[in-house]
């Protein structure tokens, strides 16, 4: 069995209202010196069998189709060792 991690983040130039709200809340809770927060999504996907190049490509196309909105988001796929 292999496990993939897909991390989806808004593209750097895209406004992240949730991240901004968190960044504004942290100092109020006493966490000083944090300059920026960006919030994203993390997916853990398990498959039967090993993580072949073919499987990685399949996960990547799944991410393109469903997990990420490529108009405003980027993603990375990696194998969880």
């Amino acid at each position: 069995m292999a496990r993939f991690i897909v991390e989806v983040m808004l593209k750097p130039e895209i406004l992240d209202p949730q991240g901004a709200a968190i960044a504004a809340a942290l100092p109020r809770l006493g966490f000083a010196g944090l300059t920026s927060v960006r919030q994203g999504k993390r997916f853990e996907i398990e498959i039967e069998g090993p993580a072949t190049a073919e499987k990685i490509a399949e996960i990547e196309s799944a991410a393109e189709l469903l997990l990420a909105n490529l108009v405003i988001e980027n993603f990375v796929v990696r194998v969880d060792e």
């Binding site: 130039e13 209202p17 504004a24 108009v71």
Partner: protein, 749 residues
């Protein structure tokens, strides 16, 4: 990249500039050079290109839109007319109402959720800018075929975006339209309407007056959102071969906007601004040049002071950025500390970025160098004006001669029954609850009527019950067949819808969605539509208070159906006396008001059979006015139990909708050809429900307004019965009506 300053524009006078890539034509670039007496700096080029784009300058539409002013009827109701962010009308009791529709078509195709959400945000800021508290929104939407795969991508995202943004703002969404047609496949129409209310004395205008007054930018920080969005995205149709032109999408933050609304309203209440402008398309370029142009005439801005979300932005990009939730105000120096104090209280970033002067120039500096030095009027108000050629399309006569007579008409009772089921379940006529249930219709507690009623009504004064009613309409198929008549019919329908609920129509707004103005056939449709609307408004005595033009709505060479969405605003003195559409009691009398003729060209029945041709009906505005007066008077006297306008699908659909609302059936008798009686779409007709006690009073009133009445039958039972023809149980009708949207769109999100 080195900084391009006014100084370097003089030294390096012959530098080659990418004006064509920015959408400017050779003659437009030459004109900029002659205005400035030198080549523009790159920042100036950015400003001119975006402000002279079709979207901002209305360069193709201006010559025709003048008719709205020239043909404006005499009215005391109009407080602010065309040219400001939105028109304002007097609704009595010291209240003024402002309303406007805008399009956000292209951004919503690229990124449905954010495109639609920022469309709502933009129109809400326009209304706020007039000094009003936004009180309701509406969304007329048009998509490709309901079963097309791209519609399944676009529609759910758009609906969620409108709901997400509007619901977070706490604004009720009280109506709109959802229409499907093949021509919108690659180019959906996402129009957004907002209405706001204020006291007369609170009206604010977008002008920068008074030497020494301060220019304040407040709201969200500036990022790289939608750079080039206006000039590139909104003015050129999609071309899949050019992905590089895709700009970064604007992302909305409704909570930031909500705070901005409350902050602005407090600032207005303390009378702290001289002028105000929201930042929408073309961002700071637009706000600074429009404010300066409409005021004392000069302004100096220090661009380095603009708070940035992305510090790597170049000055050209800061000027073009379309970051959302930003406003620009002109504040007197003695009031600035209080202004900033209120902004701090609301946690809104506010920065003094410049000053009003009498130089008659808009100057902008960056790192101590002047990068913009222009006469502001040439940017904002004196852009190019085109007399685009227009000509009736070659196939227009052939289209009009192609009558829907070749389609086999239902004859037997069973065929008529099936026709009703086919129509009431077709996507254009099916129940839209799947869409409208995602919108908060009742937040703030002032919603009196909302979708699917004929018009949306919100109360504006709790003590007196004063309210406003709004409806938006257009049958774009009629506009294709005859854009002049089709647009008059759109106005007639919106007008009738407002009157049907008991409100008196007062003012008109519009959102004119068309194909490419460079196509003479499209320009002909546009010219005919504007003329039709201006003529009809004059005949009905309604001023056009503003509007929006969206061109380049096409996929490849195929333009959308000409879609001039017409919005009518009405006033109702006491919302408790409004008339709703539902049949609610048994034993009431049903009457049809108005004459029925054979009108199937451009009808929904023809549409579901894949036919579009013939001549639309003619709008009889004298009849519409008398009908409206009757409906308003009957509603005010409380003698109507219900009323519903007949439109797509004709009488059968109207009565079915009235019965389905509260599940009270009806038994009706029809004269003549049953197919024509049941499904013809002759305009100027309304079904009313009157109790036996009010029947004589109503008939006398109808006669006094010279409106023909036909007794249809009585209410009651659990079926819709068409005597001597067929009957359908309401449960079967409901399944057909309500099943379509969930079947098409459930699970698409």
């Amino acid at each position: 990249m080195t900084l391009d300053t006014v100084k370097s524009a003089l030294i390096d006078a012959n530098q080659v500039q990418p004006y064509r890539e920015l959408g400017l034509r050779d003659d437009e670039y030459a004109r900029i050079k002659s205005i400035l007496g030198r080549r523009p700096t790159s920042s100036e080029l950015a400003m001119y290109s975006v402000m002279w784009s079709e979207h901002c300058s209305y360069k193709s539409s201006k010559v025709h839109l003048r008719q709205f002013g020239e043909k404006q009827p005499k009215t005391d109701a109009l407080l602010v007319g065309i040219g400001e962010n939105a028109g304002v009308v007097d609704v009595g009791e010291g209240y003024a109402v402002t309303f406007k529709i805008e399009s956000h078509n292209h951004p919503s195709f690229v990124e449905p959720y954010q495109g639609a959400a920022t469309g709502v945000g933009g129109i809400v800021r326009d209304i706020l800018t007039m000094g009003a508290r936004p009180i309701a929104i509406m969304d007329p939407l048009r998509f490709g075929p309901a079963d097309a795969s791209d519609t399944k991508r676009v529609l759910p995202g758009v609906v969620a975006g409108i709901g997400g943004y509007g619901n977070c703002l706490g604004l009720p969404n009280i109506g709109g339209e959802v229409v499907f047609d093949e021509t919108y496949s690659g180019n959906p129409l996402i129009n957004a309407l907002c209405v706001g209310v204020m006291r007369h004395e609170d009206i604010k205008l977008a002008k920068a007056s008074g030497v020494g007054n301060l220019v304040v930018l407040f709201g969200a920080k500036t990022g790289g959102d939608g750079i080039g969005g206006v000039s590139v995205l909104a003015s050129e149709s999609f071309d899949s071969a050019k992905p590089s032109k895709r700009p970064s999408v604007q992302v909305g933050d409704p909570f930031a906007e909500k705070v901005l609304i409350e902050c602005c309203l407090e600032i207005f209440a303390e009378d702290l601004v001289i002028g105000i402008q929201d930042l929408g398309g073309a961002g700071l370029s637009c706000a600074t040049s429009e404010l300066a142009s409409a005021g004392t005439g000069g302004m100096h801005v220090v661009l380095d002071r603009v708070p940035l979300r992305d510090p790597s932005l170049a000055p050209e990009e800061i000027l073009m950025s379309e970051s959302q939730e930003r406003m620009c105000a002109i504040v007197e120096p003695e009031k600035i500390s209080r202004f900033l104090e209120l902004c701090t209280r609301w946690d809104v970033t506010a920065t003094v970025i410049g000053e009003v002067n009498d130089s008659a120039r808009l100057t902008i500096e960056w790192e101590n160098e002047i990068i913009v030095d222009v006469p502001p009027r040439t940017v904002a108000h004196e852009g190019p004006v085109y007399e685009r050629p227009f000509a009736e399309p070659a196939g227009q006569k052939r289209l009009q001669a192609n009558l829907p007579n070749s389609i086999a008409r239902p004859r037997s009772p069973e065929e008529l029954r099936m026709t009703l089921l086919d129509l009431i379940s077709c996507p254009n006529l099916a129940d839209k609850s799947w869409v409208t249930n995602q919108y908060d219709k009742y937040v703030q507690g002032n919603t009196v009527l909302a979708q699917p009623e004929d018009s949306g009504i919100v109360r504006i004064d709790e003590k007196t019950g004063l309210g406003v009613a709004i409806s938006t309409d257009v049958n774009a198929r009629w506009c294709l067949l005859d854009p002049y008549e089709g647009t008059r019919l759109a106005l007639a329908e919106a007008y009738r819808n407002v009157a049907t609920t008991g409100a008196r129509p007062l003012a008109v707004t519009n959102c004119l969605n068309f194909g490419s103005p460079e196509d003479p056939a499209v320009m002909w449709q546009f010219e005919r539509a504007v003329t039709g609307l201006a003529d009809a408004c004059l005949e009905l005595g309604l001023p056009v208070t503003g509007g929006n033009v969206s061109f380049y709505n096409q996929t490849g060479d195929v333009a959308i159906l000409p879609t001039p969405v017409v919005g009518v605003l009405g006033v109702i003195d006491d919302v408790a006396k409004r008339t709703a559409m539902a049949i609610s009691t048994e034993g009431d009398e049903l009457y049809l008001l108005g004459e029925t003729r054979e009108d199937f060209a451009g009808s929904e029945w023809a549409h579901i059979h894949g036919h579009l041709g013939g001549m639309p009906p003619r709008a009889d505005l004298d009849h519409e006015r008398r009908l409206a007066n009757l409906l308003i008077e009957a509603s005010t006297s409380q003698i109507l139990s219900a009323a519903h306008d007949l439109s797509d699908g004709g009488l059968a659909i109207a009565v079915a909708e009235m019965s389905l609302r509260k599940r009270v059936g009806a038994r009706i008798t029809i004269d003549g050809d049953p197919f024509v009686a049941l499904f013809s779409e002759t305009p100027g007709r309304v079904v009313v429900v009157v109790s036996q006690w009010h029947r004589n009073e109503f008939l006398a009133l109808a006669a006094s307004h010279r409106i023909v009445t036909h007794h249809l039958g009585v209410t009651g039972g659990s079926a819709l019965v068409v005597a001597d023809n067929f009957e359908i149980q309401l449960s079967e009708l409901a399944d057909a009506h309500q099943g379509t949207f969930p079947r098409l769109f459930a699970g698409t999100r």
